[in-house]
């Protein structure tokens, strides 16, 4: 593991651990304050397991009032706080600091209200993403953003990271599906941004908080909009003789005015790996494979599928299958969703990168990745949310071999830098966290970052809430030395990812 600079440890706080613990035990039920190393161990990392750090203490509040009092206490006593939801994040956003109180929100696990008239659900933040859909699906509704880890990730974490999913081209990411949140600021202020009405007046704090990675406030309640489930969903599985053909096909589908619910591309390496693993019936001889899915009414889906078929053929598709049943459609996806375990068979370890690129740059970026793969002598397989331009290269390496890990990290950083170079972004859905912190200077200059830090200071003047995340520790980007990027194994291999 490479070294990573974190904010300076506050020796005074470390030395007062017992006092802080006993003070906190007066604020909340004493059994909800954990201080023994054995109890703290499960909280030492999140989904980015390459980094581990035991927190000073863990608190598990049960009410908003408790969250407020804990934050107020920590603010007054200059104690750092790291919020944590389900702990599935892939960029280290909830990795503890040595001198922090880790605020585990796990007890906020209830849906508060289902309101069909206003088509929204009011929920506590640690309810899982999928549980919201489960709560409303009997009435034919669902919650649209579907990050692949939706079975385990919390809605509060989704808000903090602005999570997406395969359907975000058509339905948007978390930020576009939120109506309101209740937030506790570092000084203990409890407030609501938004609510059941749309577009709350004044500055859009709801939008600011979404994707702020736990740096601006602790989310204690979330109101999301729910949608009526589509009547029909159909998918096409298309093989192409080259990445360029697949890329052109994607561009043309969009240019023709079709907005698919989901559109995924895998390269040959990943197509073969996933097919071997899940026997999904993929065209393994194709250089690129695309799954494109449409939802809506029957006529609408039919019209789009027909158009897709024509466009695919025009772009030299080597094979094309349309799902005839829901079972077959799910089978199309089964391989794609098993990309993680499938790559696990190929190499001891793999690192999943997460960059965003303009759709039209796919072939160029994949060619560059292929060049880098040769340069670093590490195999790579690529999955691409073509609908929204989110690229996930999986770099295979051996974590026990320090040189292999080092090369993998550099390879990953090179890919993300290239994503930025072609007009994309450092992260599409996993967040910056600690993983891509130092790469922020690739996307933003010092003034851009300084403006963002000024907002942080406005709401948290002592920089106590989740410090050391998202923004480079040193102020001047130009002063940054070597770039550190870390992926590492996922903590829960059974949870579908990206």
């Amino acid at each position: 593991m490479s070294s990573l600079q974190m904010p300076k440890v506050d020796i005074a706080v470390m030395s007062k651990k017992d006092k802080i613990a006993s003070d906190l035990r007066r604020i909340i039920n004493s059994k909800n304050v954990l201080s023994n190393p054995d109890e703290l161990r499960p909280f030492e990392t999140d989904g980015l397991t390459a980094y581990r750090q035991m927190p000073l203490l863990v608190v598990m509040p049960e009410t908003v009032e408790e969250v407020s009092q804990i934050l107020k206490y920590c603010n007054e006593n200059k104690v750092k706080v790291v919020p944590r939801g389900a702990g599935t994040g892939l960029s280290g956003g909830s990795m503890p600091l040595e001198d922090c109180v880790l605020m585990a929100m796990g007890k906020f696990n209830k849906i508060i209200e289902i309101d069909y008239e206003n088509r929204c659900v009011v929920t506590q933040p640690c309810v899982t993403n999928l549980a919201i859909t489960h709560a409303v699906q009997d009435k034919g509704f669902y919650y649209a953003p579907d990050p692949s880890s939706q079975i385990a990730c919390s809605i509060g974490g989704n808000v903090a990271e602005n999570s997406g999913g395969v359907h975000s081209l058509k339905y948007g990411a978390t930020t576009n599906n939120l109506l309101g949140i209740q937030v506790v600021l570092m000084d203990g202020t409890v407030t609501k941004f938004g609510g059941k009405a749309m577009d709350a007046e004044g500055y859009d704090f709801l939008g600011l908080m979404t994707g702020s990675e736990g740096l601006l406030g602790v989310i204690t309640e979330v109101t999301v909009k729910i949608l009526k489930s589509p009547e029909v969903v159909k998918a096409a599985l298309v093989g192409f003789p080259s990445i360029e053909d697949a890329g052109n096909c994607v561009a043309e589908i969009i240019a023709e005015g079709c907005i698919p619910a989901g559109m995924e591309i895998m390269d040959k390496a990943l197509t073969k790996a996933t097919n071997d693993y899940s026997k999904a019936g993929y065209p393994t001889d194709a250089e690129a494979m695309m799954i494109v899915e449409f939802d809506g009414t029957e006529h609408e889906v039919e019209a789009y599928i027909q158009k897709t078929k024509e466009i695919a053929e025009k772009n030299n598709s080597s094979s094309l299958k349309i799902s005839k049943s829901n079972e077959e459609r799910l089978k199309f996806w089964a391989g794609r969703k098993a990309a993680f375990p499938a790559c696990g068979v190929l190499a001891p370890d793999y690192m999943c990168m997460d960059g965003s690129i303009p759709r039209g740059k796919l072939a160029e970026v994949l060619n560059e990745i292929s060049r880098l793969s040769k340069k670093y002598n590490l195999p790579v397989a690529n999955a691409f949310h073509a609908g929204d331009g989110n690229l996930h290269p999986l770099i295979m390496f051996d974590a026990n071999d320090k040189e292999s890990l080092r090369k993998c990290e550099e390879f990953g950083a090179d890919i993300l830098k290239y994503c930025v170079k072609v007009g994309g972004a450092l992260t599409g859905e996993h967040g910056v966290g600690i993983e891509k912190r130092e790469l922020m200077c690739e996307a933003f200059n010092d003034k851009d970052i300084q403006q963002q830090l000024t907002i942080k200071v406005a709401l948290d003047p002592n920089s106590l809430l989740n410090p050391g995340k998202v923004y480079p520790i040193l102020r001047k980007c130009a002063e940054e030395g070597r770039v550190h990027v870390h992926g590492g194994k996922t903590k829960f291999p059974d949870i579908p990812r990206f």
Partner: protein, 417 residues
């Protein structure tokens, strides 16, 4: 595009109104204002500049010459423009590629000057007023992928980019949307564009009753027919919609269905069945008439001749009926948009006392009010926007973080901000 630190333009700071054509000029103007503590009013095409509080500023920044399309990639679904670009120009450009800005912003020109003026894109973003498709596609802010702007110190800042998925750093695009020019001067905007639907049809239901209308709209939204517009006009506005295929001129509920032609037909049929409608109470507008109907709604044309007293009220759908019933004692004329969540209402009489009563009613029902067009006297004394003390405190801090000397549109939204 790094800012040139030493770029000097021949800025004559004695003039009261600046009409820059380059970002360097804007930077120099703002740096001077910052240094000299001079407040400056920011304008685009002045289509909405009457919305908001009156405030004093020594200088005016007119961005109407800072215009032009920088980059348009139809297949990447984005357009990048300078902030002073007229919305009309962007819409026309997109139209050629069968694309659109899906948030269909209101044209306030009819209301304020009796003729179309849909303003500049910078103004559209700064006000964040979305049209009838709001409940389906989101607000203006949901379509802003990234921007470049100048903060109150004259520093050029960027945020976001041109890709849909981007979670790098705080999402400042959201924060500047709806900030009425009080945080930054927007210079460039990258906006998500979407294909225009092949066909649009509108189901018009003859119905003068709000309760029934809300029931229709609620059912339509909870059906799988995926409507993209839902309005209710009471009897007194029915006459404003003379269209070939509209068979009556009284109160009406209208529901828009868009998409591929055969799918639209299928959904229109299904929706009229699901709503249990009889032929005699139903008209169906085809593509062209449907577009005319929704542009009249978007342009607030029923209020074209209105002198004053127009409020915009946003509520959870469940509260709309009760709020309208309570507001009826004030002699109002209103119509409902956003399938029940948005009320545009004029008041025969409006003074500070009445305004406070209305605000109380709306607040109790979890909504908010924006004063769109009111008399100058009232404007001087009333709060145009609603805010609670906690959010005021946070807003004050955020304002300072962008504009530490309060030179951008000071007081336009709230006293002291």
């Amino acid at each position: 595009m790094e800012e040139k630190q030493n770029s000097q333009t021949s800025l004559d700071f004695n003039q009261n109104t600046f009409k820059p054509t380059s970002r360097e000029e804007i930077v120099e103007i703002i740096k001077t204002c910052y240094r000299k503590n001079i407040p400056i009013e920011i304008n685009g095409l002045k289509s909405k500049n009457k919305i908001g509080r009156n405030f004093q500023s020594e200088k005016t920044l007119d961005l109407s010459d800072y215009k032009g399309i920088i980059d348009y990639k139809p297949e990447e679904l984005y357009i990048k423009v300078k902030a002073g670009t007229p919305l009309k120009e962007i819409v026309e450009k997109l139209d050629k590629n069968n694309q659109q800005l899906a948030f269909e912003p209101n044209d306030f020109g009819y209301l304020f000057s009796g003729e179309s003026n849909s303003g500049s894109i910078g103004g559209v973003v700064s006000c964040n007023f979305a049209g009838s498709r709001r409940f389906k596609v989101g607000s203006v802010r949901d379509h802003i992928l990234g921007f470049q702007g100048i903060n109150g110190k004259g520093e050029t800042i960027k945020s976001g980019g041109t890709v849909v998925k981007n979670v790098t750093g705080y999402d400042l695009s959201k924060l500047v949307s709806g900030s009425f020019g009080t945080l930054m001067i927007l210079t460039e905007l990258s906006i998500k564009v979407l294909p225009k639907p092949e066909t649009s049809k509108t189901l018009i239901i003859k119905n003068p009753h709000l309760k029934k209308a809300l029931d229709f709209l609620g059912k339509a939204l909870s059906s799988s027919t995926d409507p993209s517009g839902g309005v209710f006009y009471p009897d007194y506005f029915g006459k404003d919609f003379v269209l070939n295929d509209l068979t009556h001129d009284g109160g009406l509920t209208a529901i828009r269905i868009e998409g591929p032609t055969n799918s639209v037909d299928q959904r229109v049929n299904r929706l009229s069945k699901e709503l249990g409608l009889l032929d005699q109470e139903l008209s169906i507008l085809d593509n062209e008439q449907s577009n005319i109907f929704w542009s009249r709604t978007r342009n607030l044309e029923v209020f074209k001749k209105l002198e004053n007293n127009l409020l915009r009220i946003v509520l959870p759908i469940s509260e709309t009926l009760q709020v309208i019933q309570k507001l009826k004692s004030y002699e109002i004329k209103y119509f409902i948009d956003w399938a029940g969540s948005l009320i545009w209402s004029s008041f025969d009489q409006l003074d500070t006392k009445i305004l406070n009563e209305i605000k109380d009613i709306v607040k109790k029902h979890q909504g908010y009010i924006t004063l769109i067009k009111i008399e100058e006297d009232l404007k001087a004394s009333a709060d145009i926007f609603t805010i609670d003390p906690i959010k005021y405190k946070i807003s004050e801090k955020i304002k300072r973080s962008f504009d530490p000397k309060r030179i951008f549109n000071p007081g336009k939204m709230y006293t002291g901000i």
